[in-house]
Amino acid sequence: MTASPAPLIAFGRLRAGRRLSADTFWLDVETPAAESFRAPGCFLKLRGWPEPGPLLDRPFSLHRVQAGGLQLLIRRVGPATRLLCGLAPGRPLKITGPLGRPLTEIIPDPADFYLVAGGVGLAPMALVLDWLRESGRRSRLFYGERSGRHQVDPAWLAAWADDFTATVDDGSGYGRPGLVTEPLAEALAREPRPILACGPPPLLAAVTGLAERFGVAPWVWLEAGMACGLGVCLSCSLPLKEGGRFKVCREGPVADGRTLDWEAA
């Protein structure tokens, strides 16, 4: 079992950025602290816009850790992500992390997995794929988007995901039209495997339902608005079925979807 690395506050510098869809950006942040983020499952808080800007740092999962840098996949959805996605290379950034529990602690014995990414839930899947590959496990990635304008450059995706199925809800982009849960259900019917999914709560709830139907484990990678990321503000917690709450920042970001109360969330 890998112990969670202690979080730290470090400085980084934006080394490169690339636009991968109408609203999805890849950022490469050079930092001396890069290696402490290598465990899949962790996330960070980031700020680096001109001050005074948005008050809170913003949480992001790690896409890759490479060449002394942290690579992030960010969707431009609000004022802070708009600022981050528009920064020029060289810009200093403040990094807090690694936050959360590594996947190796939550899932000590990885199996062959179906990975499900909804939208920018694609971000953490590269590190997960590496981890499964290194553990000698097979995996297949299902990547769903609402429309083609959100879909990342397929060549970029193919460069790190060798076995993926893309879907697009409205049929306007590449891959299969419809919901990502459709090819997932077909795959589960052919060969049941545990699932690790990252995306919006309705997708995670649907994946949990499918997993229960096929008798496999649904691991859900949660996204939540948060302030501290360190377990004190209690703003990111989600209700558990058996009572009590799950702190996404400290106990997550990955949870067994069956333990969460999706109706109350």
Binding site: I9, L55, A227, C233, L234, C236, S237, R245, A264
Partner: protein, 305 residues
Amino acid sequence: MKEPDLTARLGPLTLKNPVLTASGTFGYGLELKDFCPPAALGAVIVKGLSLSPWPGNPGPRMFEVPGGLMNSIGLENMGVEAFVTRALPPLLAAGATVGVNILGRSPEEYGRLAARLAGTEAHFLEVNVSCPNVAKGGAAFGGDPRAVDEISRAVREMGGGKPFLVKLTPLVSDIAAVAAAAEGAGAAAVSLINTLPGLAVDLARRRPRLGGGLGGLSGPAVKPLALRQVWLCAQALKIPVVGLGGIMTAEDALEFILAGAEAVEVGTATLIDPRAPLTILEGLKDWLRREGLPNLGQIRGALRI
């Protein structure tokens, strides 16, 4: 040059410095110790505690607005018993000066909380009569000098002589009258301001942004209002005033001290950077050195309006 003297006095308590943590932003005192050792601060005021654990409000529990944060956590807490047996001993062992924030639904509940804490080594209580995020009690008490008087008396009578602060809501027409009620009932100090009751609206979904509906506003946006209330209380009271509301930097803290605060609490800033209380404390020392002042007494309450 000699180290500046930063001690702060809250009634019978002498704190090593005037930087405290605001309740609800520093957990039960040890969660952020690797970034900010609790023993370095004037005091750690822990998350508000009720007689039994409270589950808090449904999500979303936080929403950012320009210059501030809206929250509706709903006072989720482990309950006083778990705190006393599990969280308090290691916090005291870490060398912290501990302030315990308490909250109840009636004066009787406040009295029982004070009684439970009376026999512990906690250094003082902070009586929350001002949280906007609970339906019963909370800010409903804090707006009424008679309720503040009644709760303060209950805490004094049951608290075994433990000093207590009364934490006030800013949303009252006469803050000095409410603060005077706390003073008259034996509070060692008052602390203000709690978050400012507010509402954030999600237009597209035609509903509030926060799961609890209404919320409390904190952060830089509330600082001018907090400064005014602190100044008014400092003018009116003989007991010390602990100032809070949007303190992000040492300069912010110094503005409160200039307005009459004996000490300050750092809240929202800690949620952004867990080192904030320590950074602010270091900033106070640096400022005194730069100004060539031996202590904060030289500027405390020196603001003339």
